[in-house]
Structures are given as C-alpha cells and as structure tokens.
Amino acid sequence: MKNKTEIPIYPRFLPVSGENAVQEDRQWQMARDRVLAYLNALDFSAVEALELCVSVMDRARTEREHNGKGEPVAASMQILRRMLQENMVASDLGTALENGGLPVVPPVPELNRASMISEHPFPSLFSGMFPFRKKANRTLQGFSCLLMMILLAFGYFIL
C-alpha cells in the first residue's frame, strides 16, 4: 500500500464550502473591493490601501461576530470612514484634497459686506404731470394698442 503523505493545510486557506458560507464570502469580497475602491479614489498607495483594508476587514469581522448582524459592505464602509476620521484623513478635507492632487485654498475671500440699493423705479420726466401716464408707463400695453391701430389704419386705407 502506497504510503500517502498528508500535506497539512492551514485551515484559514481552506476553500469555502456550503451555500451559506459561499454567499457570505461573496459579500466579504464585495466589502473588500468597495474598501479598496474608496481608498484608491483617495489615491492611497497600493501597500497602504491593502494594510488599511486588512485592518478594516478585521474590525468589521470582529464587530460582526460580536453583534451578529450587519451587512459586510455597510459595516466595512462605516468602519473605514470611522478609521479615516480617527486618523484625520477623510475628515480633514485638506488632506483628502491633497491626496487627490487638489490644493487647499478658500474658494472666496472673507466677506466684506456693503450695500448696493437701487433707486426706486426710475422717476419719469413727466411723473406727476399726467396721472394717467403711470398706468401706460407701467405696462406699455398702450404701445401694442398703438401698433394695432396703425395696422388697422393701414388696412383701412388699403381697402
């Protein structure tokens, strides 16, 4: 009988088996990808991103084991943002912008307020002279009436 040598396999690297376990592992893969995508968007270096990702995943697993609830993606992203804030990365807008290659300068200077008030509707040369002008001045519908009258007059002369 052939002597078979058993290769010891560290349990952690064993392939996942069972439908529930496969489903759960897929969710953890998604969480990993989401965390890495976020860190990549912040322009973290590959090594830094991986290290941070591992920490996030560890904390997320631990918390999940303790609480026994929560989606891996949501839990990981919450922890990531918390960790970034703890490390003054994401909460510090400047650092986030600089990581993205954008400078930190105020978009506008300090306010130095002053007033700029318009005169009440331009006073007319004729205001007060003809009270009925006010209405005509306001809407100028009179002009359109005038135009219509001219057109009618044209029609009258033609006919």
Binding site: R81, G100, R113, P121, F122
Partner: protein, 698 residues
C-alpha cells in the same frame, strides 16, 4: 503731445459742437432724400398710404445716415490721425506702475457656459497678467449662477485644477456659486459688489468668451487712475477664434470696419459713451452707489428684470457725474462671435427684448440727452427692421393696388388738370444709388484704408485676399439682411404685444446648423418669400424685379443658414486665404494659450461623481463656508430626495433635485455615506462605483 488731466474738461463743449454737426449732416440729406422719395410715388406722397411710406422712409434713411456719418468721421480720424480726445493719450510712461492700493477684480459672470472655455480663458489672461509684473494688483472672480448641476460640479473641479497651476501667484482666482440667479447677470455682478466690492477700487467685467491681454488690463487701470472722473472705460473687443463661415465673415468685418466705427463713435460720444457689458473697467464705488438696477414694474417682456443692463448702467453712471469713455484705440481686447446664424438670432432676441425695455427709461429724470439718444439708437437697431418690413409691405400693397384698381386721376378732389399716377423710376434710381452709397461707402473706405496702409493688408491675405473677402462679405451681408429683418421684425412685434418668443433648446451639432434645424426656423420665411414673390410676379412684374434681391434672400434662407454655419466651409475659406485676420497670421500669446488649453481633454465630472468620488465630494464640501441648518420642511424634502436617489438611483433625480442636494452639505454627506454602503446590484452601477475607482485627478 501728451495730454494732461486738465485738457479734457472742455470735452462736453466739443461734444456738443460735434453732435450738432452730426445732426445737421443727418437731417439735411434725409430731408432731401425724403423729398425724392415723395417724387418717386405716383401721387407724390399726397395720399395717406404714400404719406406713411414717405414717413417710414425718412426714419429709415435718417437711421442709416447715423451709421454712415459715424463711419465717415472715424475714417477721417484714422486717415489724418488727428483726434485730441482719445482717452488712451492721457497716460504716459511715467504712469507705468499701478499703485498698490488700486486693486482690481476681474470678474466673469457665467451661466451654464462651456466650462473648459471659461477656465482656459481665465488661465490665459492670468498668465498674461503675470508677464506684466503687475499681477499682484488683480484678482479673478468666476461668478457662477446656478444652472445645470453637472456644470456646477465641473466648474468646481476646473477651479481646483487651475489652483495647482497658480499656486505661488499673488493674483488669486476665486470661484463663487450663487444660490439663485436673481436679476441674472446684473444681479450676479451686484452680488459680487455687495460681498467683496469694498476690497477693490476697480472691476473689469468679462464675458465667458472674453479675452484680454495683461498689458491692456494694466493700461485700462492706469487710465482710470490718471482720470478719477472716469466711471466706466470700455474697450472695443475684436472678434476672434471662430471657424464657422458666418463667424469668420463677421470677424473679418469686425477687424476691417470695426476700428473706423469705434473711432467715429468716440468722435461724437466722447465722455458720454456706452458700456457694452463686458471688456470694460468700472470704478466700483460709484457703481455701487449709483448703478444698482431696480426691477421694472409689470411683467416681461417689457417689465421685470432689466435685460440690457449695460446701457442703463452707463446712463446712471453719467447721471451721477462720472464719465464713460470708449478707449477706441486700445488693442488686446477680444470676444467670440456666435458660430451660426441661429445662435446670432437667439442672442438678438434677448438683446431686442432688453433694448425694447429702454422705451420705459427714455424719459427718466436726470439722464443726459446723449444717453437718451443711445437708448433710442438701441431701440431703433431692432425697430428699424420692423419699419423696413412695413416699408416693403406698404410698397408692395401700393404696387399691387396700382395694377388691380382703377387709377385715380383726381386724388385731391375737383381739379382742372388730372394727376397722372406715374412711378418716377429715374428718381427711384437716384435714391437707390444714394442709399447704396450710404450703406457701402464706409466699407469701401475701410478697405481702401487697410489696403493703402503699409503692411496692413498682408495679415488679411494681401490685396487679392482683402478684395475677395470684401466682395464676399458684402454679398453675404446683403443676402442675410432680409432674413435678419424678418426675424428682428418678429421679435419687435411680439415684444410690443407683450409676448415672449419661445426658443426651444437648439439641437446644434458640432459642425454647425443641421438641415432639420434650419428648416424648422426658416421655413416660414421661405414660404412667405415664395408667396410674396408669386403674388408680385403675377400682378406687377416690374415691381417684382425691384423686390427680387429681398425675395431671393428669403427663399435661400435655409441653405444659406446651413452653409454659413458650417465649420468645414469656414476652414475651406481660410485655406483659400479669405476672411483672414491679423490674429490668425500672428496670434498673440493669450490666444495661443487659450487654444492650447481648450484642446486639452478634461476628466468628466457630474453630480453622480460629486456624490461618489471622495475627492470631488470633499472638494464640493470645501466650498461651503458654514453648514446652515435647513428648516424642518426643507430638511424633510431633502431627505425625501436622498431616499429617492438611494432607492431609484441618480437618474431618477431631475436638475432641481440635484441642485437642492448639491446646495446642502448635510444631504451630500448623507448620500455619500449611504451610496458607498449600497449592496452590489444595478444601483451601484448607476452610481458608477467601480471595483477600483481611478484617481480623481491625473
């Protein structure tokens, strides 16, 4: 000889004298031509119909005479070189440096503009200013009004990217997004003045398509410093950087005829000049004190916000005792023309409505007479189209009636001798020739001036290029005139009737005007032209030939619109050496930089990316000075929008909802957090969360 500040107080007297001469020059030929016109008509202008025709003719003739004499004055000045009242002459080499406290804000109010073009222009002007060594006296403000939410995000990203390029520059570039576009452009400028106006002595207003060289900006401020009575200093911008044929034709015309008209305008306006809304320097303190615009009572189009605010602001500035000058000989000020005829008409519709509002301001107490005339001239620039149309219509009616009605030999009642109703065509020819001279002599003078100046014709393609460009320009402008007349007449008519003309968003492809678009806008004119022509041809054939140039133009409006808006045609003409301008032969560094920046591709940015991308999100939040807590009703509405976005994806939001979210940092923070926690389904793809996001900025 350099003028001192004390030379110029005499200008009001000189201006009065010059304007009197202009008035005489306009009135005398107009009276004579009107007399001729009456002689042309069958009853010598004695019937009401003929009287109306004669009156309209008088108005139109007087109107074109103003342009003619302005151009002639400008021509004379350019030939002789004698104009002591050129505002640029008041500064000399000893005024080279701008004092430290004379700070200037270069402001660019924008609304849904091409982001790449805006920031390329700003970068180009910034570099040019830095080369003058006076950049520290200037700051830039990009004043954006709320429009498309995606453009809002793109502007923020473009602003952040430009900051990298100017890191160590003393000349800062600021960006402000307004929450509402109250009073449009004038409200946007007023908002700037209220917030930061006190930090600056001057502001230079630019349009989104404006370019100014650093030297010109410095020169303008030097002039303003030297003469504290100047409230507004306008430069004549030159048209550049367009490829379509119509824009190239206008660029050519602007370069050849423009300087002459500018010199002519300065001749009779002097310190009563106009503000054209951009490429001008303004003294901020009096502007804030005297030029705030009220809203006109009543509804648009004749009430509401003042659209053509620039004319009104210059009138108010003058009313307050400050001068408004046109620096007619200052170079280095550029703008871009509308690329197609339809774009031009769209702009004209806005201008027409704005100018017609000035009817309500004509009799404002305290305005200077010159500014009332400028208001009137702005109104007439569109009303003249309606008058021309009425003139043609009345002439046609008379011509038709003459054929179908019994002639009236005794129009004035009982008389011993009959009045033979005969059209005096020989007088008509005299009138036609005089009108042609008035319309085309200024152009001929400009061409001759350029042609006979040493080395001036070379940048325009030499003698041959100049001549062929001139002939084509005259042909095209003649062909386009009736189409423009028809549109302008419609704009005026509708505005007077209190109706706004609706223009749907144009479907303009990258190459210009499509056939479908041209058909949609010009078919009425074409059908009208055909019908008009047919009636006149059948009834009065001799009159048909008089009318044929107008009819041909109307009938050809559709192919003409497509052909003139084409970039390929424009580029073909350029290769043939036609419609060249000096800025194409030897472009100034500002325009070269603009072209280079405009060609660079930018990363796309939109609302979705602003929510998802942590860098863009952080950038957007950095624009909020403080986080205001919205009212409970607003907060509830915002929460509803966020929930909708999370459950249905970003495509479910309309522009108003997107702007509401972008305006509220708390909602942005909420969305950003929740979007990244979405389970992996189609929504994640809608939000554009990739497995590995690329870095935000390369």
């Amino acid at each position: 000889m350099k003028h001192t500040t004390d030379d110029f107080p005499q200008w009001p007297r000189v201006a009065r004298r010059r304007r009197l001469i202009l008035l005489v020059l306009i009135l005398l030929p107009t009276i004579a031509a009107t007399g001729y016109m009456a002689q042309v008509l069958p009853h010598r202008g004695t019937t009401p119909m003929e009287l109306a025709v004669v009156l309209i003719f008088a108005l139109l003739y007087g109107w074109i005479s103003i342009g003619f004499w302005t151009a002639m004055a400008g021509c004379l000045i350019r030939i002789t070189g004698r104009e002591p009242y050129r505002i640029s002459r008041i500064v000399g080499p000893e005024d080279a440096d701008i004092p430290e406290d004379a700070r200037t804000a270069i402001i660019m109010p924008i609304y849904n503009e091409d982001v790449q073009r805006v920031f390329a222009g700003i970068a180009s002007i910034h570099e040019s200013l830095a080369r003058t060594g006076q950049g520290g006296r200037f700051d830039f403000y990009i004043l954006s009004d709320p429009g498309d939410p995606d453009i809002w995000v793109q502007e923020e990203m473009a602003w952040a990217q430009i900051q990298r390029r100017i890191k160590d520059s003393p000349c800062r570039i600021y960006y402000r997004q307004r929450r509402s576009n109250t009073k449009r452009k004038s409200g946007n400028v007023a908002d700037f003045c209220r917030r930061w106006g006190r930090n600056y002595r001057y502001m230079v207003v630019l349009d989104a398509d404006s370019i100014m060289t650093g030297n010109t900006l410095v020169q303008m401020i030097r002039i303003m410093e030297k003469r504290p009575r100047i409230g507004i200093l306008q430069t004549p911008p030159k048209a550049v950087s367009r490829d379509s044929l119509i824009a190239r034709i206008q660029q050519f015309a602007n370069h050849v005829y423009g300087p002459m008209f500018a010199a002519g305008l300065n001749y009779w306006q002097l310190g009563d000049s106009q503000f054209w809304g951009h490429n001008a320097a303004i003294r901020i303190e009096p502007f804030m004190k005297h030029c705030a615009l009220p809203r006109l009572s009543g509804r648009p189009p004749l009430g509401g916000d003042i659209l053509s605010h620039d004319f009104v602001e210059s009138a108010l500035m003058r009313k307050a005792g400050y001068e408004v000058w046109l620096a007619c000989d200052l170079e280095g000020s550029y703008e871009e023309m509308p690329p197609t005829l339809l774009d031009e008409l769209k702009r004209d519709r806005r201008w027409c409505q704005g100018n017609m509002q000035h009817m309500r301001l004509l009799f404002t107490r305290g305005l200077y007479g010159a500014h009332r005339v400028l208001f009137l001239s702005g109104i007439m620039s569109y009303v003249s189209a309606l008058l021309w149309f009425l003139f043609l219509a009345a002439s046609t009616v008379m011509a038709v009636l003459q054929e179908i009605r019994e002639p009236d030999y005794f129009p004035t009642g009982h008389s011993l001798f009959p009045d033979w109703p005969v059209w005096e065509t020989q007088w008509a020819f005299v009138l036609m020739i005089s009108t042609t001279i008035i319309l085309f002599l200024p152009k001929i003078c400009s061409i001759l001036y350029v042609a006979f100046q040493q080395g001036k014709s070379r940048p325009f393609g030499g003698w041959a290029g100049l001549l062929f460009s001139f002939i084509t320009e005259v042909l095209v402008s003649t062909l386009l005139a009736p189409t423009r007349m028809l549109f302008h007449a419609k704009f005026v008519f509708m505005t007077l009737l209190g109706r706004q003309i609706s223009w749907e968003a144009q479907q303009r492809d990258a190459e210009g005007t499509s056939w479908r678009e041209a058909l949609r806008f010009h078919w009425t004119g074409t059908v009208f032209g055909l019908f008009w022509g047919l009636v006149v041809f059948l009834v009065n054939r001799s009159f048909f030939w008089w009318l044929s140039p107008i009819l041909i133009s109307l009938v050809l409006a559709i192919p003409l619109g497509v052909w003139l808006g084409s970039r390929q045609t424009g580029q073909w003409f350029r290769r043939m050496g036609l419609f060249l301008i000096p800025e194409e032969k030897s472009p100034p560094p500002e325009l070269t930089a603009l072209a280079a920046s405009s060609d660079q591709s930018r990363e796309p940015a939109d609302f979705t990316r602003a929510v998802v991308d942590p860098v863009l999100y952080s950038l957007h939040l950095s624009f909020f000075q403080k986080w205001r807590t919205p009212s409970s009703a607003v907060a509830e509405r915002l929460r509803g929008i966020c929930e909708k976005a999370l459950s249905l994806g970003p495509l479910s939001l309309d522009d108003r909802e997107k702007k509401a979210v972008l305006s509220d940092p708390a909602s942005m923070a909420f969305l950003h957090e929740k979007v990244w926690q979405l389970p992996d389904d189609s929504l994640v793809h809608q939000w554009g969360i990739p497995v590995c996001l690329p870095p935000a900025v390369p």
